[in-house]
């Protein structure tokens, strides 16, 4: 009896400790890092933004330039993230399922957009896709202008966002059991049905994560976008980060933080919605 009780206590203790030792230490480091690098800077934005009176705050964030910039940023990031999901998945699929010459090399290329300074990417893309560059010339001949339009912003955001989707989908595909597909095939499902009903639900959580990351990155992107967007207030090709930089250039810190705050809240809400969908989705797939 006593032995059993001891055993129970031991179990309890083990359970409370979890498998990683030094909970206090690691939690301390976690909280410090988070506060130094994330929470305190974010709190200072909040504090600075809230130092404005509500009427001043709303005058700034409801001004035309800010509203249009928010719309442009959200819309372009959303479109770019969606395109990234489609093509990122295809790229991940190709890299995981097929064995071809220099696969590792191509696999390594995926992360290059992370390594390249975004301003370099922006200048290069704006030149390529302007009506003097090589694909840009052809596109403009059929009436599609890319550089200095919303399309240009989307192109830049696809560039910076693609690694997120590929790298989140890849590991899931690697672990994906062939037997599911075989079973579906044996049960008479065609390729498309197998993809939609069997594979996609499994991939969905990873895709949504990739989408969220690419989207968030797109909302905050500055370097690569400003060179290709043309920054025209008239054509509404200014993005939010550009409007923030405009204000900083005149040392309007309060205005800049107000816009930053709105951007943070918007991104946060959108990311939360994506997370909720993801939770719902993974519950459904786990229940099946």
């Amino acid at each position: 009896m006593i032995k059993e009780k001891n055993k129970e206590q031991n179990n309890k203790r083990k359970k409370r400790h979890g498998s990683i030792p030094g909970f206090g230490l690691s939690m301390g480091i976690t909280l410090t890092m988070l506060s130094m690098l994330v929470l305190i800077p974010l709190a200072s934005i909040l504090l600075y933004g809230l130092s404005l009176s509500p009427s001043e705050f709303f005058a700034i964030v409801c001004s035309d330039s800010v509203r249009y910039a928010l719309r442009t940023s959200i819309l372009c990031s959303f479109i770019a993230a969606t395109i990234n999901c489609v093509f990122g998945m295809i790229i991940a699929w190709t890299l995981v399922r097929y064995n071809f010459f220099h696969r590792r090399l191509i696999d390594g290329l995926i992360e290059l957009p992370f390594a390249l300074p975004t301003a370099v990417a922006g200048i290069t893309l704006s030149k390529m896709y302007s009506n003097t560059g090589i694909p840009g010339k052809w596109l403009s001949a059929i009436g599609i202008d890319v550089s200095y339009t919303h399309l240009g912003i989307v192109v830049a955001l696809i560039f910076v966002g693609i690694p997120f989707v590929v790298r989140t989908v890849q590991p899931v595909l690697q672990k994906f059991d062939y037997q599911y597909e075989e079973a579906a095939h044996i049960l008479g499902a065609g390729r498309i049905i197998t993809f939609i009903k069997v594979m996609l639900p499994e991939l969905m959580p990873a895709l949504l994560t990739g989408f969220g990351l690419a989207f968030a990155r797109g909302m905050g992107e500055y370097g690569s976008v400003i060179y290709i967007s043309g920054n025209s207030a008239k054509d509404h090709t200014q993005v939010v980060s550009y409007v923030i930089m405009q204000k900083l250039n005149y040392m309007d810190y309060a205005g800049a933080t107000a816009v930053a705050l709105v951007m943070l809240i918007t991104s946060f809400v959108i990311l939360m919605v994506i997370n909720l969908i993801q939770i719902k989705q993974s519950k459904r797939t786990n229940n099946v």
Partner: protein
């Protein structure tokens, strides 16, 4: 989390924090620039974008001069970027012994932060502007669209490249020069001036965030028919591509006075006040003034400016920022949110 673990967690946080702040304190102490007997002094010059080449050359002649004159080796560290952003970085603590920025206004911002003494503009000749520049047009070779003056920019079908006044200092000069032209033409009829400006900015095809960006758009990406640009930037583009472009001087433009100042707070702390002063005052020497002319800036010395009469169109009529009541007044009226620029641009 149990109490004990919570305590440990707090202790770890405290240790890391104290380490971080400790590092901050020690790194502040060793920023001394004068090294004992070796007589090597390092000063930092925070400047704006287009002066990169000018100061690279100037630093060489200055350190030769200073070695002969005072026996001190001077190394000048350069920093370049958009003028407003550079001013901001100095306010936020960038090590600058001297600033050589595009506008007096940007230096005033540093002065307001208490780093520069209020009478800085009197410290050197000519409102502390050893060189000036102005705004001109750069057009494609042969001037295919026949652009000769500001009126030509508002014609239909002319694509203008000019940076965004809301984020670039140079762009403000462009705006004010055009405004001054319109005010002369329409006899100060505010409504007509605004509709002129509105047409002009309606023709702006790509609005980059800075002067360099606009030059890239016009030259590298081949956009637009005319680039409204700093004269020095236009001259340097022309010397790089002599066959591809032409400079057109409008009848009226604005005298841009890039200003220089010692960042007293930093220079006093670094013990570089004297050297900083000599560094800036040598800009007015004959040698430096010639170098300035070579690099496409107008020397403040009238006699030397005359030597470069073939390089600069000295017949342009130039207004100054004082015609607009100074930078602060111009900013309040034109470039602030909801100011004149927003009004004419959204028409």
């Amino acid at each position: 989390m149990s109490m004990k673990k919570f305590n440990l967690c707090v202790v770890v946080m405290a240790i890391i924090l104290s380490m971080l702040t400790g590092c901050g304190a020690t790194s502040g102490g060793d920023s001394k620039n004068v090294k004992g007997n070796s007589k090597t002094v390092t000063i930092t010059n925070v400047s704006y974008d287009p002066t990169r080449e000018l100061y690279a050359a100037y630093n060489e002649i200055f350190s030769d001069y200073y070695k002969n004159e005072a026996g001190i080796d001077v190394t000048v560290v350069q920093s370049h970027g958009g003028s407003g952003g550079q001013a901001r970085s100095v306010v936020e603590g960038a090590e600058a012994d001297v600033v050589t920025l595009a506008l007096a206004h940007d230096i005033t911002l540093i002065e307001k932060a208490g780093l520069i003494e209020p009478d800085w503009i009197e410290e050197f000749e000519g409102d502390s502007s050893p060189y000036t520049s102005t705004i001109v047009f750069l057009v494609r070779s042969g001037n295919p669209k026949g652009i000769n003056d500001w009126d030509d920019l508002i014609r239909d079908g002319i694509d203008v490249i000019s940076p965004d006044p809301k984020s670039s200092g140079a762009a403000c000069w462009n705006f004010l020069a055009a405004w001054y032209y319109a005010s002369q033409k329409y006899g100060n009829d505010e409504e007509q001036i605004k509709s002129f400006m509105s047409k002009l900015y309606g023709n702006v095809k790509v609005m980059d965030s800075g002067a360099r960006g606009s030059t890239t758009t016009f030259v590298e990406n081949g956009q637009g028919d005319v680039l409204v640009s700093w004269e020095n930037e236009a001259i340097s583009t022309l010397s790089e591509y002599p066959d591809d472009y032409e400079i057109v001087s409008p009848s009226i433009s604005i005298l841009a006075q890039p200003s220089v100042a010692i960042v007293d707070e930093n220079a006093d702390r670094n013990g570089t006040q004297n050297i900083a002063h000599d560094y800036l005052s040598y800009l007015y020497s004959e040698n430096a003034q010639r170098l300035i002319g070579e690099y496409g800036y107008r020397p403040s010395d009238k006699a030397i400016l005359g030597e470069y009469a073939d390089k600069f169109d000295l017949d342009m009529s130039l207004c100054t920022i004082n015609d607009f009541g100074g930078w602060n007044a111009a900013y309040e009226e034109f470039f602030k949110d909801g100011g004149v620029f927003d009004e004419i641009y959204s028409r």
